[in-house]
């Protein structure tokens, strides 16, 4: 809305809400989620920390490691631990615990402690080590406790998890007293609860982000970290060429996330745009016509937990029909020849992410790649088999209640939760 000094000024509103307020301590943040397990990154990121973490621009920043160095070949790395850090049971963070965590999280690397310095050696260059450390290597102490700003106080698998503020957190006690997380809630129910004020943070389907914004609701969003793809039991090049990703992205996903014909998202690989995403209907028709009649009728199964899964499947079926392929759609059919799946990005290291994605999608392990060009070749070879059709990379998106405040992005690009700077308006300190 354009402000005009020529217009008569209105009487001052009694509620001068423009002035900034100081954060409040106290309160329990209520969160609802679909995922039924606690193994996903958001919950783990509340209690566990890594040696380094990435800032919004992707630059590694000190976390449990204050500083680090590496040799020219990026084969030998050294990390200096931050002093004064304690686990949630009060035990001190030391190099031995870090070594044990890193050895488990980074197989194939030799990790050793020297005083409070951690040395990581590899027999090949690992220029992306910091990315792996930032995402894949959570430092875990005794009894699976972490050093993070919150500690888990309750866990009922599939139903409920609860966290309490770590009073002795090295970065300063969080503003929130507790976080209460209801698990296993559908997106629809979460949206309703958000609207009714029954929750403070709820996951949003892509189509609901617009609705939430239109109502003036704050939204949080990670980077594009969830790959939505079609897994094919047999080669499905014709289908891949018929899919109009742009239309689905514009309408069904409301331009959330990004279109992708690559396994790795653009911000991880830097070359995802090189995999063409535009459909080639003429070629799709020609390929489909060459298939035996029985192969032109295919079953497609979708996971209802994927946002807009049914709508995506329906649209894919419409596109496929234009190419002469008939798809029969069903939910959660393990026998289906095609499956619409969502796979979270397993690592921020491109090479590790590609290997893990290939495993998750049932592809053969890609060749080892130490350069971007080699990684591109590995990925291209994986996709040349036409057994996976990447479609989109979607972010984790959350609608946030009005009482939730905080200016630092509470959800990182990689989807981790940084709730230590969140506070609730209207709560008593």
């Amino acid at each position: 809305m354009r402000l005009s000094p020529w217009l008569p000024l209105a009487v001052l509103s009694a509620a001068l809400c423009g002035a900034a307020t100081r954060p409040h301590y106290g309160g329990t943040l209520r969160v609802e989620m679909r995922a039924a397990t606690p193994d996903n990154d958001p919950l783990a990121s509340l209690a566990f920390e890594t040696l380094v973490r990435l800032d919004p621009s992707g630059t590694p920043q000190p976390c449990l490691a204050l500083s680090w160095q590496h040799d020219a070949a990026s084969r030998r790395w050294q990390f200096q631990l931050r002093p004064g850090v304690r686990f949630q049971d009060g035990s001190p963070l030391n190099a031995a615990v870090v070594v044990a965590s890193l050895e488990g999280a980074l197989p194939g690397l030799a990790v050793a402690a020297n005083g409070e310095t951690i040395t990581v050696r590899a027999d090949h260059p690992v220029p992306d080590l910091l990315l792996s450390l930032a995402h894949d290597a959570r430092i875990m102490g005794h009894d699976a406790l972490g050093t993070g700003p919150f500690r888990m106080t309750a866990f009922d698998p599939g139903h409920h998890a609860a966290f309490a503020a770590n009073e002795d957190y090295w970065g300063g006690r969080p503003f929130l007293d507790a976080i209460d997380i209801q698990l296993g809630r559908t997106l629809r129910d979460q949206f309703a609860d958000l609207e009714l004020g029954k929750t403070d943070v709820a996951e949003l389907a892509p189509a609901d982000v617009r609705r939430a914004s239109a109502r003036g609701r704050t939204t949080w969003s990670s980077g594009p970290i969830n790959l939505v793809a079609l897994r094919c039991a047999s080669e499905c090049e014709a289908l891949g060429l018929s899919i109009d990703r742009a239309a689905m992205h514009t309408v069904l996903l409301q331009k959330q996330g990004e279109i992708s014909a690559a396994l790795l998202p653009e911000w991880i690989s830097g070359y995802a745009f090189a995999f063409p995403t535009t459909p080639d209907l003429a070629r799709a028709r020609a390929l489909a016509a060459a298939l035996p009649a029985a192969a032109r009728s295919v079953s497609l199964s979708y996971d209802p937990a994927i946002p807009a899964a049914r709508a995506l499947a329906d649209r894919i079926a419409v596109n496929a029909r234009d190419a002469g392929l008939m798809l029969q759609i069903s939910a959660q059919n393990p026998q289906a020849a095609l499956r619409l799946v969502e796979v979270p990005l397993p690592s921020l290291s491109p090479a590790r992410a590609l290997t893990a994605l290939a495993t998750a999608l049932g592809l053969e392990a890609p060749a080892a790649a130490s350069t971007v060009a080699a990684l591109y070749e590995s990925e291209r070879k994986l996709l040349d088999g036409d057994r996976v059709i990447p479609l989109f990379y979607l972010p984790d998106e959350y609608g946030v209640a009005a009482r939730v405040r905080g200016d630092a992005p509470p959800v990182t690009r990689a989807g981790e939760w940084r709730f230590e700077n969140i506070w609730l308006a209207g709560t008593a300190p």
């Binding site: 402000l3 920043q61 653009e266 745009f273």
Partner: protein
């Protein structure tokens, strides 16, 4: 970016560019090609030009082209990526080179997070509405609806702006300084002058486009308070977008604060990528040492205090990049000066208009 960083970056960048250019030249058998360059990274136009130059020096880009080469500058978390797509006779070949984003070792003391803190400094205060104000050398130049004012030391000089026609309501105006010369744009009028040795001013009715940002101009509706949507940006050329109040560059992207109350993000290809619904009508893009940032007002009313918040564009989302700067009343103007911005606000208590510079400082 720091000079050292830029130098190091240049080494890696041109090295990778030359390597890739050689690979491409070999691939097209050194025949002439049509070269297109686009930038998807945070590298600025300077680096983009350097890469193009490195390529053109290796490739023959004139004559009957045997292939189309699309060169894309991209990045991931740790590397800049240079990718060449060669289209030749129906076939497609992809060649890649990359170089690290950060040549120096990491550790404490390096430029830290992308968070930006805005330092607000008062430039000028007066009763009449201020349209724009700029610091130029040791002087301050102020534009309002009736005059151009030069304040140097304690002395003031002003020259009237001839009112050849009635100004539209919600008058807007913009100043730009180049050495001692300055340009002032008002709806349907352009004034040029200098501040040395003393203030001169010459105004004429004109439909000339206003300066929008670096290498970007836009046509202002002469009897209104918004830009028509016709812009001219280098590279890229002219475009016709929806009418907007303000625009801010962010890397290769642009954000336009539309007259419908929505801010729209446009990609480098001028595709509308996403909307931002929680911004006011005034936005400005500034270049900071931690990257481009966008300053945006809040969508508050005339009778409410406003604030200006820095944002960082990541993908198609605008994330808050630092604490907001509060103002005692509505912000009436916000213009970028490149590495900083000028903000004008109306004080609800005193009834006076004040112009501030907003200088960004990177770090938490």
């Amino acid at each position: 970016m720091s000079p050292l960083f830029l130098a190091l970056l240049a080494l890696d960048l041109s090295g990778a560019a030359h390597d890739l250019a050689r690979s491409v030249a070999n691939a097209v058998a050194h025949e002439p090609v049509v070269l297109n360059v686009r930038n998807l990274s945070v590298l600025g136009p300077g680096e983009t030009a350097e890469i193009r130059q490195a390529f053109e020096s290796e490739l023959k880009t004139t004559g009957a082209a045997s292939a189309d080469v699309q060169l894309t500058i991209s990045e991931n978390l740790s590397q800049y990526v240079l990718l060449a797509e060669i289209e030749r006779g129906g076939s497609r070949e992809v060649l890649l080179e990359s170089w690290p984003r950060d040549a120096a070792s990491a550790g404490a003391g390096k430029p830290a997070s992308g968070r930006v803190t805005l330092e607000k400094k008062l430039l000028w205060e007066q009763d009449q509405p201020i349209l724009d104000a700029l610091q130029t050398g040791d002087a301050t130049l102020v534009l309002d609806g009736t005059r151009v004012l030069l304040i140097r030391g304690g002395a003031q000089q002003s020259l009237p702006i001839p009112a050849g026609h009635a100004w539209p309501r919600d008058l807007r105006g913009r100043l730009s300084v180049n050495g001692a010369a300055f340009t002032a744009w008002l709806p349907g009028t352009v004034c040029r002058g200098s501040v040395q040795p003393q203030l001169t001013l010459e105004c004429a009715e004109s439909q000339d486009a206003w300066l929008l940002g670096p290498a970007a101009i836009a046509t202002f509706e002469p009897k209104r308070n918004f830009f028509t949507g016709h812009i001219d940006v280098e590279p890229g050329g002219t475009r016709d977008l929806a009418p907007f109040y303000a625009a801010a560059p962010a890397g290769d992207a642009w954000v336009m604060a539309g007259t419908d109350g929505r801010a729209r993000i446009y990609t480098h290809a001028w595709d509308a990528a996403a909307n931002i619904d929680q911004w006011g009508s005034d936005i400005a893009g500034i270049q900071t040492t931690c990257g481009p940032r966008i300053l945006a007002t809040r969508p508050t009313g005339l009778a409410e205090p406003d604030a200006i918040q820095p944002y960082e564009l990541i993908g198609n989302a605008a994330n808050s990049a630092g604490p907001a700067v509060e103002f005692p009343g509505p912000v009436t103007a916000l213009w970028s000066t490149g590495a900083a911005a000028t903000a004008v606000s109306y004080d609800l208590e005193t009834g006076r208009y004040a112009a501030f510079t907003l200088a960004p400082a990177c770090g938490s």
